[in-house]
Symmetry: C2
Subunit: 132 residues, 2 copies
Amino acid sequence: MNDSALQTLLQQLTFNEDGLIPAIAQQHNTGEVLMMAWMNEESIRETLNNNRVCYWSRSRQKLWRKGESSGQEQTLKGFRLDCDKDTILLAVDQIGAACHTGRRTCFYQVVDGDELLTDSEPLIDPAVLYGK
Amino acid sequence: MNDSALQTLLQQLTFNEDGLIPAIAQQHNTGEVLMMAWMNEESIRETLNNNRVCYWSRSRQKLWRKGESSGQEQTLKGFRLDCDKDTILLAVDQIGAACHTGRRTCFYQVVDGDELLTDSEPLIDPAVLYGK
């Protein structure tokens, strides 16, 4: 995407009071919803320029190049906006585990009757992912 | 879900400063991501009690029983939380159009090269949906 087109796109988006917009990551070929995180202008610019997904980490207050410490990168396959242009849907190709717990998806807790169950196990030990 | 289990669930969730939590709606049998909206405690309670999805409308500042004016209801098929318990993933069965534009999904705008294209058309005229 050229700079001028990117600028036009960014100007259309509705960011919240912190300059952020929610982004849902979906595995492009299976439809699995992997995670939801936040992007700012800079992370959107970087993601569209590099085709590697970059979020904004609210806890660390810095760019979060997905996989930079864990190796579990997300390649961008598609970038969609909703009707109000206040939510992004990313089609991604996720290497390994999207979740910091080592699971494929962050959405591994499910309401089952009166209980909240965990229905998937880590693919990778987080201690290995983060070299702890 | 019984009242005590529901209360336990609600106490585990991380709501934002407005008492809201983002909820992604995904069509249960196709994987299509339909929309993202917000829930508060009351809307979560109502959704889990009735198996009909109810959001919190930030613009109208009231419960938003999806489909109550348009007829385009969402039946709840599954309720998931992410690792941080600050995002909900709803598996739903969507009648007709999830989007207020009359489209199946809200995510109908896609970056294609330097352009933002619309790649689906309304299933239903919004004027019919909302009786205007």
